[in-house]
């Protein structure tokens, strides 16, 4: 990164942190956990005024045409605050799918509403990657219809627009269901799921001859690229959460007194915290490398991304667990935020590609013989 873009990133970080400090304090997160949709539409509109949903969207389509590093900063901050917003669904998965797979005309159709914060969009497929198993699409008269079940769709219960990856013969095409203009999405049975991580909603979507508009064809490869970019952003979100739980643990170790001393003065705690710091900083190096690679050497992104997710996912789970341990009993209570981060960490680790899947894919990319991710890759 150049010094100039570092400056922009720092400014964006501060603006986002201030914004989330106001719109996503812990009390607000807990309130949203109990609502049906699980996301704060009002805050999302305010975020749009700051330009957040449109960061990746080209300027002429109403966005700011910024890069993955900038959006990565927003994801990091969102991860710190457990922001209940359609960031992963709309700005990572759906936006990246449209940007990577669809042509300019389709982008002009879909992205301005996303950049304006007017539409929540979700990407639906089935399996680890769209190219590893998807829904089915077929012609019915003049129109396309989609069949099948998509298991764990982020914000699938609330999205006004569904982007659907479906197979046509042996090829993968991209479809859109729902106009995104306020009319309800028709012909899809949506089952909101009870998720371990209450701060991020998933839905099961059943498509029964659901009318859909085809927006791109033969998108297997481009959707893999889109998913790599979306996962790099998820990795940034995980990094932000990991950084936050380390801070929580350090702060608590300074103020909790037992045996007449702050517990942070005991070597057992100190070393645990130092190991957490190590893990977080190693993950930071890996995640930032993936975000930079997405911009500068996109051909190398699969390698950098799978590495970042394989390392970073485990780090977040580990440090979120260690944070509970440092807090002791209080950390196990519902009223303490430690569990919210632990649940976000575990869920983020297993969604999209798990560390095991990414390690297998890394081995494939490096040409190391053995069982491949493509063969054993289904979730």
């Amino acid at each position: 990164m150049t010094q100039q873009s570092d400056g922009i990133a720092d400014e964006l970080r501060q603006v986002t942190r201030d914004f989330l400090g106001k719109t996503s304090p812990e009390a607000k997160v807990r309130e949203l956990m109990e609502t049906d949709g699980g996301i704060d539409r009002e805050a999302w509109s305010q975020a749009a005024a700051l330009g957040i949903p449109g960061l990746l969207v080209p300027e002429e389509l109403g966005g700011s045409g910024a890069g993955m590093m900038e959006l990565g900063v927003v994801f990091e901050e969102a991860g710190r605050a457990l922001w209940c917003a359609p960031l992963l669904s709309t700005c990572a998965l759906a936006s990246c799918a449209v940007l990577c797979a669809a042509d300019r005309a389709v982008q002009a159709e879909l992205l301005p509403a996303i950049a304006a914060g007017a539409v929540v969009a979700a990407l639906a497929w089935n399996g680890v990657r769209p190219s590893l198993g998807s829904l089915q699409a077929r012609r019915r008269g003049e129109q396309w219809v989609v069949d099948g079940t998509s298991g764990y769709v982020v914000d699938g219960g609330t999205a006004e627009q569904l982007l659907v990856c479906a197979e046509v013969n042996d090829r993968l095409d991209l479809f859109v269901v729902g106009s995104g203009t306020g009319t309800p999405v028709a012909g899809v049975e949506r089952n909101s799921l009870v998720t371990m991580d209450s701060t991020r909603r998933l839905a099961q979507l059943n498509f029964h001859a659901t009318p859909a508009l085809r927006i791109a064809t033969d998108v297997g490869e481009s959707l893999d690229r889109a998913l790599d970019r979306a996962e790099a952003l998820l990795a940034a979100e995980q990094l932000g959460g990991a950084t936050r739980v380390l801070e929580m643990a350090v702060d608590y170790a300074q103020v909790r007194i037992q045996f007449g001393r702050p517990i942070g003065s005991f070597q057992a705690i100190k070393h645990k915290l130092a190991e957490m710091l190590m893990a977080v900083e190693l993950a930071r190096a890996s995640v930032e490398h993936a975000l930079v690679t997405a911009e500068t050497e996109p051909a190398l992104l699969p390698l950098a991304l799978s590495h970042a997710r394989a390392v970073g996912s485990g780090t977040y789970v580990r440090v979120a667990g260690d944070n509970v341990q440092v807090h002791g009993g209080i950390g196990f209570t519902w009223d303490h935020p430690a569990h919210l981060y632990l649940k976000r960490a575990k869920s983020s680790q297993l969604m999209l590609g798990s560390p095991k899947w990414h390690r297998s894919r890394l081995a494939d990319l490096l040409g190391i013989p053995g069982d491949t991710a493509a063969a054993g890759g289904r979730r």
Binding site: H271, A285, H307, A363
Partner: protein, 390 residues
Amino acid sequence: MSADQRAVLAGAIDEFLDRNPVAALTDLAFRECRFDAGLAFVSFRPGCGGLGLDPALQPFVEERFLAAGAPDTRMRNIVGLGLAAPTLHAHGDAEQLKLLRPLYSGEHVWCQLFSEPGAGSDLASLATRAQDVGDDYVVNGQKVWTSYGHVARWGLLLARTDPEQPKHEGLTYFVLDMRTPGVEVRGLRQMTGESGFNEVFLTDVRVPKTSVLGAPGLGWRIAMTTLMNERIAPAGRPAAMGEGPIAEAIATYERAVHGGAADAADRDRLMRLWGGVEAARLMSRRASAGPLGSIVKLQLAETVRAVYEYCLDLEGPNALLIDDYTDHHPDVVTPLGGGHPGKAYLRAIANSIEGGTSEVLKSVLAERVLGLPREPRSDRDVPWSRIRRS
């Protein structure tokens, strides 16, 4: 770092290589020219082998020279290049700075005379005495774990000049000519069977006052410069992805696959190790001197050992054998192993002890980076002569 500095530097290197083709000169002469051109340690001052540039540009310089075919001879004098040079540059007087050129060229190998049998992690409690006798100091004591001691021309010596001061305050830093009478170097045999380190016995060694670095009593502060550089993993030359011990692990796995002796669990374990090494590599590209830099060292200590253990596990019964335990006294240190996997594994055991134990480094991270309370200390503000030592 600015793109401008980078471009100017790239131009300077290209021009240098035009004037001094790698193949036309001996390594020594080539390195002397590099030093004179300020392309040795680019962050150092002009005249000291540098151009006063951002230290973050050093890896870029090393990359360019390697690409031009210059051999990587760092390990021949890693203590000199990695530890002595930054210390001399920061604290040396005009005469002492003259040592930088032969240090860089490889003419003079350097060693570090810090640790003692009674002063390991608690370095500041060291007992080697330097007594002021007018124009000289007279040094008596024993140093240990001295890499390159048997080939070194110069040593970085930390000795006690005032035992009645608290332990950190009575120390003085010397640049010691290893040819001085009374300096005796003996190989120290380690668990690999070789003598990769030395013991150095100092008996009535007369050291002129001009060899004090900084001033008497400032030894600890100056030693910090040295130690902070030690805790960055072998730097200067950026490792390429997949290079080093992990390449041996991959080769071992592939042999096991061909022999029908590896499964999916071995592949997954291999990739866990690969991730640990790659994370350290990516971090080493951004970490500089300072406590945060020790993360790379900590991570590699753990991971490299695990990498060689993996190699042994995949070798199966073959790993019951070792090449041999004949005592050697090698001129070049290989802390990351290499050679026979059994030997490399055994050598890697020391990675979490040498250059700061992992336990001490974790305490430093916790205290200096995370701001946690210091360890309670019983030897603070007590004259060194009265503290308890083993």
